[in-house]
């Protein structure tokens, strides 16, 4: 029963989502529609959707979850509920992991629906295992949740929180190898891209697109994304303050 408070927090966040069906619909519909749009744009260009599709399948959930989590945690901070919880016998890990579990479950549903559409009606194919694409998409969504948790500490209003998306996510997207393959980036930017989690998330899906077998590089990518995930959750926990000025 040690994790009772974590499970209660996850259940509470899911209950909040259930009372907000429009947000749940958007969580699933937005990436689904965007992937459909991408498939349509690239129709007739042989294999382009097979190249870009898996990469973006990991990135759209990351962006959506980043936004949802940063706003949700900001509301807890400004609404006083976080402060109240921290005056109670609540560990910071209970809070952070509770959120990660709740949004992780939401991310699984999201990834299953969106990749089901991609591999089905949208006609996306990968050389590697399709289910691994789903795993990477869920991992990316969790990374988005963890980054949103820690970044929300920097925001004092929802206007600011929303703007952290372009500030923290878009530069990673530009350097992730989607637009220009990372080795072809200017040297300094290439170095910088090694420090950014999205580079590994995109590379993992590229590995799945182009290799039938699971490559060592894919495993390394997944481990690095997992490492960033743990680090971002830990950072998120340290931003929760029991005492404030």
């Amino acid at each position: 029963m040690i994790w009772r408070r974590m499970r209660a927090t996850a259940g509470r966040v899911l209950r909040q989502l259930r009372h907000d069906p429009r947000t749940v619909a958007l969580l699933v519909a937005v990436p689904a529609v965007l992937m459909g749009l991408l498939a349509w744009i690239l129709r007739g260009r042989s294999h382009d959707f097979d190249t870009f599709g898996p990469q973006l399948l990991g990135i759209f959930p990351l962006i959506v979850m980043f936004l949802v989590t940063s706003v949700a945690t900001l509301r807890e901070r400004t609404g006083g509920t976080l402060e109240r919880l921290l005056t109670m016998p609540m560990r910071k890990a209970d809070f952070v992991l509770g959120y990660a579990i709740a949004f992780g479950l939401a991310a699984i549903v999201q990834a299953l629906v969106v990749s089901g559409l991609c591999f089905g009606p949208y006609g996306m194919t990968v050389r590697g295992e399709a289910w691994l694409v789903v795993v990477v998409a869920v991992l990316d969504a969790l990374l988005g949740t963890a980054l949103g948790l820690s970044v929300s500490a920097l925001a004092t209003t929802e206007f600011q929180a929303v703007q952290f998306m372009p500030a923290f996510i878009l530069p990673q997207l530009l350097l992730s190898g989607i637009i220009v393959p990372r080795p072809e980036l200017p040297t300094v930017l290439h170095w910088v891209s090694y420090l950014l989690p999205m580079s590994y998330a995109v590379d993992a899906t590229q590995q799945l697109s182009t290799h039938a077998a699971v490559t060592t590089q894919f495993l390394m990518d997944v481990i690095v994304v997992g490492g960033f995930l743990v680090a971002a959750l830990a950072l998120g926990a340290t931003t929760l303050r029991r005492r404030t000025p």
Binding site: R5, R15, H19, L85, M88, P89, T244
Partner: protein, 258 residues
């Protein structure tokens, strides 16, 4: 201080030379007092006098500049106090996108309280009829009572309530004050703040605060007689005027504040 007093005789709250500087103002300025267990104490003073900052220092959410705060024998903010001290903030801190019962059940799990506790506090704050309502759709007064109910869940030994009755109708206010008296009679120590001076008469003891300092530590009857006033509003005004005059006579450091 030599040795430890027996637990029963130890004050529930001991504040010694507490000071809190927020920005450029001394929100709490060298405050000392003790509260005995099982008493109902009012913390009164105008808005912005430092009541909330003092209360936040007690529950351990405020970074303090100097001084010590001891609750139930533990330093403020100690992990061992987290299920023994209940705190209600001025702005209701509950989830607007959950029902009343969902809110209380969640906080009950966090506090390790039973599901009977949820029903008990619903009855305490007279919200049984609204248990299935979304908190976001309740009136301000109802939402404030959900927040209060949350603090009652763990049956805390000390309750710190920041303006719990503001904005409530007179009947409800009366029923909450009688709840506070019942809790105090059962041994709970309550510190209740208000900027409505008329609430003073409902307390056993009063701490009157202005500009971050305790102006008077007295009983309702004592306040009226010492200021020769008929009502608490004029008693407080008389107290402030006396304070200002006294200060003019003997200029003290850090007096005039913006």
């Amino acid at each position: 201080m030599t040795g430890r007093a027996p637990v029963s005789a130890a004050p529930a709250v001991r504040v010694e030379h507490l000071a809190v500087v927020r920005g450029r103002t001394r929100a709490v300025d060298d405050v000392s007092f003790e509260l005995d267990a099982g008493t109902l104490v009012g913390l009164l003073g105008p808005s912005g006098c430092g009541k909330t900052t003092l209360m936040r220092s007690l529950v351990g959410t405020q970074v303090v500049s100097s001084g010590t705060v001891t609750l139930l024998g533990e330093p403020a903010g100690s992990p061992r106090l987290r299920d023994r001290v209940g705190y209600v903030t001025q702005v209701p801190s509950v989830y607007g996108d959950l029902t009343v019962r969902e809110n209380l059940s969640y906080f009950a799990t966090i506090l390790g309280a039973s599901s009977e506790a949820v029903e008990r506090v619903l009855a305490d704050v007279d919200l049984c009829d609204h248990a299935a309502s979304m908190v976001g759709r309740l009136s301000g007064g109802e939402r404030a009572r959900v927040s209060l109910a949350t603090a009652l869940l763990g049956s805390p030994s000390l309750l710190v309530l920041d303006e719990p009755t503001v904005g409530l109708d007179p009947l409800l206010r009366r029923s909450l004050w009688s709840l506070f008296h019942r809790l105090a009679a059962a041994g709970t120590t309550l510190l209740v703040s208000s900027h409505v001076m008329d609430e003073a008469e409902r307390c056993e003891r009063l701490l009157l605060m202005r500009h971050g300092r305790i102006l008077a530590d007295t009983s309702p009857a004592g306040l009226l007689s010492s200021t020769a006033s008929e009502d608490f509003e004029s008693a407080f005004v008389a107290l402030i005027e006396g304070d200002v005059l006294g200060k003019r006579g003997v200029p003290a450091a850090g007096e005039e504040r913006p």
